[in-house]
């Protein structure tokens, strides 16, 4: 595969070049110290050196709120909402976020393939960029390196002079065609290391979790957790949703929409009469973490957490999924491995 050098000074040109082909979504600054994906208007506003975006690109394929249908209460008829595919380039996506998209692909395909998500997602092209792990990233522990280019159409690897650009698919080749760059023949410096780790190989996790259902960590974490649901809402592999009808004030029509929901929220399992199936905060935390490391993993053979660090960074109570997992690993080693 040919490696090109995309110099820092030409990044803006490259963004403009992509814009000439398709709509481009890329990370932008948001607020005082955050980043968010947004459609590119001004190529100079694109930021490729960022730690993580508030939400992943999931928001384009599974929007935070999505109208499923609109209804007319006078005729009792409905019209379906149009699903517009994202025929666009997603520029500056980190490896873990693309991996998360692949996981969502699985969830929305299994058994009942869902048109809404799949149609939106199928035309998307991805231009990845490597990242420098900060205090929260731990994707390396779940098999996703900071320069992992798998699944990308084009990948940019950060080096001192700019980026090494590689095209990995015909679609990627098409995207870079016509944009002239020198070939890069230099070495690839060693990637920066991760600062956070899960201290067990991925394939051992299932075994650890087999043993951890009644661990004290669930109760201990529940003392600090305020049940705000933030950790679900920022997670690129969370996909649970609620569905609700809204009626217009004129009372002649309205719409049915789905909205992101999360298993950390108490109301998530509440049924008529007020019974809550997962009432204990500890049981909810356990469910969330088991969803990331056991339940789906047992069926697919992969962790369902991509190690982006969002849940930890965003939790006002400072709850860290890595600490929880490492605690389980420790207890497992002590109670099972050492006594065996």
């Amino acid at each position: 595969m040919v490696q090109y050098l995309l110099e820092d000074s030409r990044v803006v040109d490259f963004v403009s070049h992509l814009q000439a082909c398709k709509t481009v979504y890329a990370p932008h600054r948001k607020g005082t110290s955050s980043f968010a994906f947004a459609p590119v208007d001004d190529p100079t506003a694109v930021v490729l050196d960022y730690n993580r975006t508030l939400h992943s690109v999931k928001k384009y394929f599974l929007p935070p709120t999505e109208t499923l249908l609109s209804f007319d209460l006078r005729t009792n008829e409905f019209t379906e909402s149009e699903i517009v595919p994202c025929d666009a380039v997603f520029l500056g996506v980190h490896s873990y976020d693309l991996r998360a998209v692949h996981k969502l692909d699985h969830n929305f395909r299994q058994e009942n393939p869902e048109k809404n998500y799949l149609r939106r997602r199928e035309e998307a092209a991805f231009v990845g960029v490597s990242f420098e792990p900060d205090a929260f990233h731990f994707s390396g522990s779940v098999g996703i390196g900071s320069r992992d280019s798998s699944g990308f159409d084009v990948f940019l690897t950060r080096i001192a002079a700019g980026y090494i650009l590689t095209a990995h698919t015909p679609v990627g080749q098409e995207l870079v065609d016509g944009f002239v760059m020198p070939e890069y023949t230099g070495d690839l410096p060693v990637p920066p290391g991760f600062k956070q780790h899960i201290y067990v190989p991925q394939d051992k996790l299932s075994e650890v979790f087999e043993h951890s259902y009644r661990n004290d960590v669930w109760l201990e974490t529940a003392e600090k957790c305020v049940g705000c649901g933030t950790c679900n809402l920022v997670c690129p592999t969370c996909y649970c949703f609620n569905v609700e009808d809204t009626v217009e004030i004129t009372i002649d029509g309205g719409s049915r929409a789905r909205t992101w929901d999360g298993c950390m929220l108490r109301s998530f399992t509440e049924v008529a009469g007020g019974e809550v199936f997962r009432e204990e905060s500890a049981a909810r935390q356990r469910h969330r973490v088991y969803r990331k490391f056991k339940y789906i993993s047992d069926r697919t053979g992969e962790p369902w957490c991509v190690g982006c660090g969002r849940c930890n960074q965003a939790c006002t109570a400072g709850i860290s999924i890595v600490s929880i997992v490492n605690r389980l690993v420790n207890d497992y080693d002590r109670e099972v491995v050492e006594t065996a």
């Binding site: 692909d105 699985h106 009942n112 809404n116 149609r119 997602r121 309205g254 019974e275």
Partner: protein, 283 residues
């Protein structure tokens, strides 16, 4: 894992659009429960299995899951028994003949009827649990030759809360059915058995290896029924249970119905008991 990027999604479907179906009969069963007959456009078959459910939508109110109460052998329409408990069921309660509701489904796995064929079928239904079980009961009655004995244990809180009273009489009189009914608290007019549903089980004359059990009722009931079945000597692998959880999508996407690793709307609502033992949140 495969990368779905740019792979055709031709096989993907509209999962959330209902079919508009007409209410073609309404029978009030008790103060709170009503039986509805629903007819799909053109009299199309729902194509369900006993134990499956549909998502009913009333625009402006939302959707709620209801079991199909009629047997697939009864053609041209299907039935649902609905208990009035909240927003959507309140509005259903006020609906009139001919009005239309949205229907999605059938969803869920349903009863694995093959496993019951040639066997003695024991149905244990508590309260509203009779609604889905009635589909299986009538299925067995309509294919009577495929099954051996049909034993029904049904419990309600009081005689005023008994559902399908006409059918209960028919089953009681039908020599092909062994029918047992109990109420927790009988009125002065009640002459039948009094006591919770588990009190019916010890007296049953069961041919153990031959019996397949199907249980459906309110969450509190399961543990006690299991105990009673176990002390009767029923093997775990011969027990099936139908569970209920909060549901939204019905198609394994929204996450609400999950118990541990299992989606009740997809892997259930009918579970083989040995499979439930790994699901700590189930019972």
């Amino acid at each position: 894992m495969t990368n779905a990027s740019r792979t055709p999604s031709a096989e993907s479907r509209d999962l959330y659009l209902p079919v508009m179906a007409a209410i073609t009969d309404i029978r009030k069963m008790t103060e709170f429960e009503t039986l509805y007959e629903i007819t799909l456009p053109g009299g199309a078959e729902l194509g369900h299995q006993p134990g499956q459910f549909v998502e009913v939508s009333l625009f402006g109110m939302g959707e709620a899951p209801f079991s199909v109460s009629s047997s697939p052998t009864r053609k041209g329409s299907f039935e649902m028994g609905v208990r009035r408990v909240g927003m959507l069921t309140d509005v259903m309660d006020r609906m009139q003949l001919g009005e239309k509701i949205g229907v999605r489904g059938p969803f869920g796995n349903g009863v694995p009827v093959e496993k019951f064929k040639g066997k003695d079928v024991l149905i244990v239904a508590g309260g509203i649990g009779l609604v889905p079980m009635r589909s299986m009961i009538n299925y067995v009655l309509d294919n009577r030759g495929d099954f051996d004995r049909l034993i029904i244990c049904y419990g309600a809180r009081s005689d005023g809360e008994l559902l399908f009273t006409d059918e209960l009489k028919m089953w009681a009189d039908d020599p092909r059915v062994e029918f047992h009914v109990t109420v927790d608290h009988g009125s002065t007019a009640w002459t039948g058995h009094t006591g919770v549903i588990t009190t019916l089980i010890p007296g049953l004359d069961l041919d153990m290896p031959q019996t397949r059990v199907l249980v459906c009722g309110p969450p509190v009931m399961y543990r006690f029924v299991l105990l009673a079945l176990r002390s009767k000597g029923v093997a775990e692998e011969n027990i099936y249970m139908s569970l209920e959880r909060r549901m939204k999508c019905g198609v394994g996407k929204c996450g609400h119905c999950q118990i541990n690793s299992s989606y009740v709307c997809q892997d259930g609502p009918v579970y083989h008991y040995p499979d439930l033992k790994g699901l700590q949140e189930a019972l």
